[in-house]
Amino acid sequence: MKIPTFQLCFVPIFLTFIFSSTFVQAGHNDKVSAHLLHAGDRIALVGGGLIERARLNGYLECALTLGAGPKVSGLKFRNLGWSGDTVFNDARSYFGKPKEGRDRLKKIISEWKPSVVLLNYGSEVALSLGSAWTDEPTASKRSAGSWDESIAVFLEGYGKMLEEIRKGVGDDLREIVVISPPPLENLGSPLPDHQENNRRLAKVRDALQNFARERKVHFVDLFAAMGGDQLEAESPTKAFTHDGLHYTNHGYRELASKLVLGLGYGTIQPDTLTENLRKGIIEKNRLFFHRWRPANETYLYLFRKHEQGNNAKEIPQFDPIIEEREKEIEAIRSQLFKGSQG
């Protein structure tokens, strides 16, 4: 997909860009500095299904790209979300032990060297009281234990993952942001009742908040920002998820704006141009997915590479195409801000 070329003449730009004036303190007392992102930052998004599916609609990246403001150019994003992932990164393993998943994350992190890493984990813990939420052998049994045990395992795993990420990138890593999971929605029977799960999720949030403080990393409370503390058993009037857990496009838009607000940035009203930016991001993400998580890995890189490993040469050929898309994204971004600065 080609990104439609922007024609300056007929797109009236009105950015409701209220840069840093309507600043929402979504993060409670852990307010993030408005200078989190710098020009040229490389931002990795790491998490489970919530992050992985964000690649398909581009709202998170779009909001961050614009929220960072006109001077913060050249942001690059890599969506490293993986459905079903936990702080042990076990979902990322293929034929090996669960630890192989951690290695996969470390590999991309140490190769791409992000300057900013945003992380989102925790809803799987709230959803799995009394049953194991990870396959990692050193943690699996404890994760199925009492709530206190389960959350302790979660935080230990989280801490270890942060260390590994720090080690993997080295000095280039400037900022880490821990994002609490947003609330689960009660959409009514026959979908599950998440009242109890949300109470646990509030505890996950509290624990993460402390965790972030202790580790001196940023924290964004998406749970509160998305109304988690007010949610009661009854169905919301306008659902943000289609099953209580997974966000709809509309939900992601809301989530994205709450995230940038939580990071101390402002939001932008969507228009044709922001839509083009978002489409560009989606296309870039599609290409990056084929680059980073190609199908047929068994043949390309793993134990059948002696048969079809010659085809692995095609995979890096995605790189120049991705770069091309990123240039187009940057071009749209700068056009978007031209109006506001002019």
């Binding site: 993986w82 459905s83 939420w133 599950p192 099953d243 599609r286 199908a295 047929n296 195409i321």
Partner: protein
Amino acid sequence: MKITTFSLFLFFTLFTIAFGQRGLTKIPDTSIEAQLDSFILPEGAKINLFASEPVVRNPIHMNWDSRGRLWVVGSPLYPHIKPGQEESDQLVILEDTTGDGVADKHTVFADDLHIPTGVLPGDGGVYVANSNDVLFLKDTNGDGKADHREVILSGFGTEDTHHIVHTFRWGPEGMMWLNQSIYIHTHLDTPYGIRRLLGGGMWHYRPETRRSEVFMKGLVNPWGHVFDKWGQSFMTDGAGGQGINFVYPRSVFVASPGAPRRVQGLNPGQPKLCGLEVLSGSHIPEHWRGALASPDFRGHRIKTYRLSDKGSAFESREYKELLASKHGAFRPIDVKMGPDGAIYVADLYNPIIQHGEVDFRDPRRDHKHGRIWRISFPENPPAPFTKPAEMDSKALAEALLFSEENIVRELATAELRTRDPNVMLSALNSFVRPMSDLHLLRKVWATQALNRLDIGWARQLTKSKSHNARAAGLRAIYYDASNKKYKNILSIAEEAVSDPSPHVRLWAVSLLAQLDDPQTVAIALRALEGVEVDDFLDFAVWSICREHRDRWVNQMKTKGENPFDSLSQLLFASSAIGEPLGADQILASISKGKIKEDKKVWEVADWISNKGTPAHLQKLLGLSQQTDSVSQQHAYLNAMLTAKKIRKINPSGNLEAVMQFLHSENDTVWSTAVELAGLWKLESARLNLEVILKQAESKQVRKNAAINSLIAMGGEKTRKFFDEQIQDSQLSYPFKVTLIKGQLRIQPLLAARRAVNLMRSLPKGQDANTLFSAFLANKGATQALTKELQNNKLPEDIALKGMQLAESAPTRPQALIEALKKAGGLKPMKMSLTKEEMITMIDRVNSKGNAAKGESVYRRENLQCVACHAIGEVGGVIGPNLVSIGASAPVDYLIESLLEPSKKIKEGYHTNLIILKNGDSYAGGILSETDTEVVIRDLTGKHNRVAKRDITNQTISPVSLMPVGLTTQLREDEFVDLVRFMVELGKEGKFKTTTQRFARKWDVLPVNSPNPGTIHHYGSKMFTQEFDGYEWKPFYAMVGGGIPFEEVPVALNRRGDKYQVLRTQVDVVKKGNHKVRLKGNLADLNLFLGDKEVEIPAEGNQADLFIDFKKVGKQSLLVVVNGRGTKGHFALEVLSEDLRFNNTL
């Protein structure tokens, strides 16, 4: 010297390049007519084209909607998207608006998909498998195209694009069912927590609740799934080769990673299958109805199977072929009944299948064509069809309950889900007419499809007279068992667990596994009592004992007593979880004589060996002294041996008691005791062992055990004894080899020196293969031999053999290969062909190859093809089954695989390589795995138990188990014939296995077998006598079912009067006179059932015989060929439905 033959031939072929282009580029005629001409159909059937390219390209999966339209997904992108390529695969809706059996309208519903492998219309839109995700697409503005796209499920792996999530189907209970294949690792985020499935298996998903759960695990490529009329699930496998698989909750099948136990499919030895459908409806002839149709996509045909009840599961038998074709690109991969009652077949259309062995970008891969075929029976009227989408609630309810057309009920179920549940429930209740069990079941399903299960009706089913209905009632409750709204489910399960039908018990146990109650295991164990328990039921009970372990174990630990009704239940449960719970009680009851049967004792001993403590093992040692039963002595000794080898533990007390068995007359007991003495380092045994080894007349088995024992005992005394013996010129070569095999484990360098010395002066008629293999099997020994060869020469032929063995060793020791080349002065051998040579070769295969001659080359003993590969049901299981290799693999692939076996390795045939800390290596397939051990099947088919703690390295070897250079001994024409034979395998013609039921697996007596010497008295009947000297060897029929007389060894030659002896086993289902057909030169044939001669005509070449079988079960049929050089073939075929040959290993 044979090595030069093939090289010369290669040299020669270089001159004929120009003629060869055709072979490599030969693409089947892509015209519709070419395919139509190629079809072979059953009587009364007609085939026509329903749709084709450009509308449909490379179709993969299809399903009908409730408006009678066919939704098809196809993938020209397969196998892998190219950089710069759009995600452009399509979902197309096909419609036959005029009723002439041809699609006249098509709509592209979506054109931005990425290798879509499943499609299922319903819920107002359509579910589509899109690599990592399952999408729900919907047309919200009525323009016929999807404009709403939602990811429903994400987290499916894509490690291999023909394994990605597939085979969507609505269940009768209104859930969506979906499968994944072996290489896929899936982690779904669901509103109920993460759900994972690593490896193959099947999921179900209920859209209303968004709940996804794993139903069963395993199977390599489960590309087919159907429900029978009672709602039981059956699956096919595109690689496992077991035909139809009966699956039930929590069942685990072949290839499920890390599974300690698996159940088997119903038809071992079947080809790879893709797609599955129950043939049904009033349009097709009655005899087809109820048969399961599944495409053999490699063999260009559709096979069918018939099911019948057996124990807690089913029996599946091959039925007729529904369709066959000679067209090389016809790839049936999905089959579905249509609304008009005709059978629809999706034809991927591709001369190349798969992308593991054939390059992703092979130019012969088709990305353009695709066909949907329609098989109808013109003499029969089309089946009546009203679109469920257009039915009012009453008509819809009537269709759901009473329509006898499966397709109508299926589509009505999907339609039902879009209607108002209250309206539909009252419509379903409005019928007053009497209902059979089947109607009642459909009513239960309808309520469940609305997610409003009426448990009262389901309960009523569980009280039916029909066991099918009782089981189906339980299955319906199974899905809703966790719903707190339903009470007393435990009592339903408890009642059913003692049902007279094992089938119902299986479902009762499955239902129990869904419940929270602390008593579930105690109740489930009752299912094992009072009926014959087969593996399926046993597995289900075993599985719940493990899954609900904490419930009963905690109970037992707090109360300190057996929580079950009996000790044997405790034994079962404790063995299942692999813990020694209650071991003291059970061992005490053996000691008191309460447990006596050998089988039970073995069970207990095995369990203690795997899980017992040293104190338990001491009790076993004590028990071994108490009993006079040789089998039980063996059981106890063997258990202690296993505990030592796998778990490295000894009995806690005095070990000398084992010495008493050194007086045993039983070889097995003696050997086991001796091995234990060695491992336990009981020096008191040493002298005794040395004596055995020094006595020439000692039995080989005792000698082997003594060697192992002395090696294990180790020390200077052992080293000295071995080296003295090896250097003793009086000892035979084979015995020295045996000694060196021991020595290399303790003194590898010295052993290598002795071995090389022996190799340089091999006695006549001996080879060095065993020595090489022994050195190759241990890393330290391999290095020692390499070192020794640096300064030594070997005879060329010996070095060559060594090099061939080393080349095909999974460890592929390069340094040793080089050393052997040097030591033997070997020249580099050319084993690969240039492109031009390949073209020439293909041309020769096509123009000159003789498949019949090739088959006899294939069957030669020294080529060993048969030892490792099966063709259909018969042959070895080490390598891939070749049943349809010709129909699926291009010629160049076959040639390459023969010359360079490691270049392309079949899925599932990768060699696992395990290296132990002591340097020993094991290569083969992993059969099972627990916390403490791995069981690996090696090249010879032997199962080796390896202690996990001994393993230093475990990898998947990039080397094929197939020895390199097997074909170098062939002449050019023989090689060409062999390839031609393989090319023909599975193609329409003489080299496709038929559904005729021949005896294919035989045993024969070797040349000049010893015999009781009563031939003059009994004649041929002598061979029916029990005689210890007979060493039966396996022997397989040819693909066509026949046995060439000339290949059968002559067991006895009395002055030119030759006797060739073969026996096979027949399974008799029912007593009585049953018909068999015997072909061949009847004058020379004698046939015996047991020791009773069956009368056959004195001359002719074929006879249909009635044999009176007086009992059921397995019985031996013996054929003696008695003549002076009988020519031709013979074949034995059963014609009666009550006789079976079990041809698999």
